[in-house]
Amino acid sequence: MLGAYLPILVLVVIACLFGLGSVVFSSLIGQKKPSQVKLAPYECGCEPVGSARERFSIKFYLIAMLFILFDIEAVFMYPWAVLFKRLGMFGLVEMGLFIVILFVGYVYVWKKGALEWE
């Protein structure tokens, strides 16, 4: 029973060894030319030190919210697609209605200009 999980254990071990090995070997044989920039903490390319109270464009939030809304659509569609044949005509019509309602929202958002960055 537990034998089925053996490949996973092997993978975990290999992954650990690989990670450990890369760090150890690069510190042993790698060249070291430290500089101010290289020593700074990594912050996704942003300035690492500064005020945390920066203003973000409201558009990020808008896009994020819209993404969640339409992402949910996909979440509903996957189980529906799996059971598509068993749900029959009823499922098709029901999903069609769902898409139409979402589409109304999409048209509204589009006309309102929420999808334009400028």
Binding site: L87, V104, Y108
Partner: protein, 484 residues
């Protein structure tokens, strides 16, 4: 591969909800495709939509029809409440346009938002599954959070929206937790199934899981109807929200809260009447007293009406605590008359206040009675009705609620109610004293009523007086509605 068996679909039962949702979606699109800043036409289209929906809802009057595997029901109780919701939405829409233009927040989405909120209320009234009731409540609440914060340039309105959202989400958590515990104790979210489980297993009444679940559900609904001690959000939200939305919130959603509250308590927990009736007794006394006493010291008319709305929830709870047919019919009648008299009073306040809601204090009303005699008279009628003076709808409503309490043996509850009602006269009459008996400190010009507001006032005054003088027909309908 066999197909999955579908439950019987009876769309006729939820036809009013379907209609109103479709109308709201169409209006949403009309709003973005038709250019121009004048959005009043959307309001008129919404009112046509509400009328069509009302016709469709009233068409179902008669024997109860259950659908969707017992999650939704079309019965007279739901239909009576649906008519109340549709009326309060319609009246609120009539008074919206002028206010929104005056306050520079005349976005056309207002009207679809009100319609979606109404759909949520209708689902709450007709849902017989805790999940459907919860979904309706969420649809309603999310729209209301937005409507409360509609005036984006006004700090007070922002505060109202945020406060309502935070506290509303909190109370929704209570409600949902209560529903989850009830489900855990009884094994179903269907009200019918819960009730038969409780009948079959009387021992469940001593199951802490079940008792806590019932209490948490009661707390969640008490928050929605603004009953003390869960009323803290009401004054700030009602004062900060745009006045037409305050009018709407105090009439429609309060009635929706009562509809769902009554449905869950009377249907799902009928065996435990003795327990929750005592609970409601205490809630009613607290709510009436807190609302009235704090209202006494308010200068801002909108805030005063917010506290008075808490007190009115208390009067309705008196009928609820009685747990008899008269009490339930009394609540239906009272909620209907309250929609008319309260939205009417707010309509006059819209005409009194200037941009930014200045001049909203009682003192600013000095001389109003002489400058605008007709509007002052109309406001007086609404205030008399709110205070419960004959021959207005408020008197008949209170009479029925209190007599139901006496019939159920709650004589003291009725006495406390009448005393509270007497105390409330002070702050209602104070407005009239300023209107008629004080001289204005500065010469002040008040705007006249726009046609839409005039129609709203006419309907509201007419209904307040008709329900007060010849309440027979409507009372009969309300009694028929509660013959479960």
């Amino acid at each position: 591969m066999e197909t999955i068996a579908m439950p019987a679909i009876n769309l006729a039962v939820i036809m009013p909800e379907i209609l109103l949702s479709c109308i709201a979606m169409v209006l949403l699109l009309v709003n973005v495709f038709v250019p121009g800043n004048n959005k009043a036409y959307l309001g008129y289209l919404s009112i046509i939509g509400l009328a069509v929906t009302a016709a469709s809802a009233v068409g179902g009057w008669g024997p109860s029809v259950s659908a969707f595997n017992g999650s939704v029901v079309q019965d007279n109780f739901a239909i009576f409440f649906k008519v109340i919701f549709l009326i309060s939405a319609g009246l609120a829409i009539l008074i919206s346009d002028r206010y929104m233009v005056q306050e520079d927040c005349n976005q056309g989405e207002l009207y679809p938002m009100i319609l979606f909120a109404t759909v949520g209320m209708m689902l709450m009234a007709s849902g017989t599954d805790l999940m459907v009731i919860f979904l309706g409540l969420e649809l309603l609440s999310i729209c209301l959070y937005v409507l409360a914060g509609w005036n984006r340039d006004n700090l007070k309105s922002n505060e109202a929206g945020l406060k309502y959202f935070l506290l509303g989400a909190f109370s929704t958590g209570f409600l949902l937790y209560g529903m989850a515990l009830t489900y855990g104790a009884t094994g179903s979210t269907k009200i019918q199934a819960i009730s038969s489980y409780v009948m079959g297993n009387p021992g469940v009444a001593s199951n802490p899981l079940f008792v806590v679940g019932m209490l948490l559900i009661a707390v969640g609904f008490s928050f929605k109807i603004a009953a003390a001690p869960f009323h803290m959000w009401t004054p700030d939200v009602y004062q900060g929200a745009p006045t037409p939305m305050t009018a709407f919130m105090s009439a429609g959603p309060k009635a929706a809260g009562f509809a769902a509250f009554i449905r869950v308590m009377i249907f799902a927990f009928p065996m435990l009447r003795a327990e929750w009736s005592d609970l409601l007794w205490i809630l009613a006394v607290l709510t009436m007293t807190v609302g009235n006493i704090i209202a006494l010291s308010q200068d801002n008319v909108k805030r005063m009406l917010a506290y008075s709305s808490i007190a009115h929830a208390g009067y309705a709870l008196v009928g609820f605590a009685a747990v008899n047919a008269e009490g339930a019919a009394g609540i239906l009648f009272y909620m209907l008359s309250y929609a008319f008299m309260n939205i009417g009073a707010f309509a006059v306040i819209i005409l009194i206040t200037k941009k930014g809601e200045v001049n909203g204090n009682v003192q600013d009303l000095a001389g109003f009675g002489h400058k605008k005699p007709l509007l002052a008279m109309v406001l007086s009628i609404f205030l008399f009705s709110l205070a419960g003076m004959p021959p207005t709808a408020g008197f008949i409503g209170k009479f029925y609620l209190f007599s139901a309490a006496i019939k159920a043996g709650y004589v003291w509850l009725a006495i406390i109610g009448v005393l509270n009602s007497a105390a409330s006269l002070y702050y209602y009459l104070r407005v009239m004293v300023f209107m008629y008996m004080k001289d204005p400190e500065e010469d002040f010009e008040w705007a006249g009523a726009t046609p839409a507001i005039a129609v709203c006032l006419l309907v509201a005054v007419g209904a307040t007086l008709v329900l007060g003088v010849v309440p027979g027909t409507v009372l009969e309908l309300a009694q028929k509605a509660v013959q479960f």
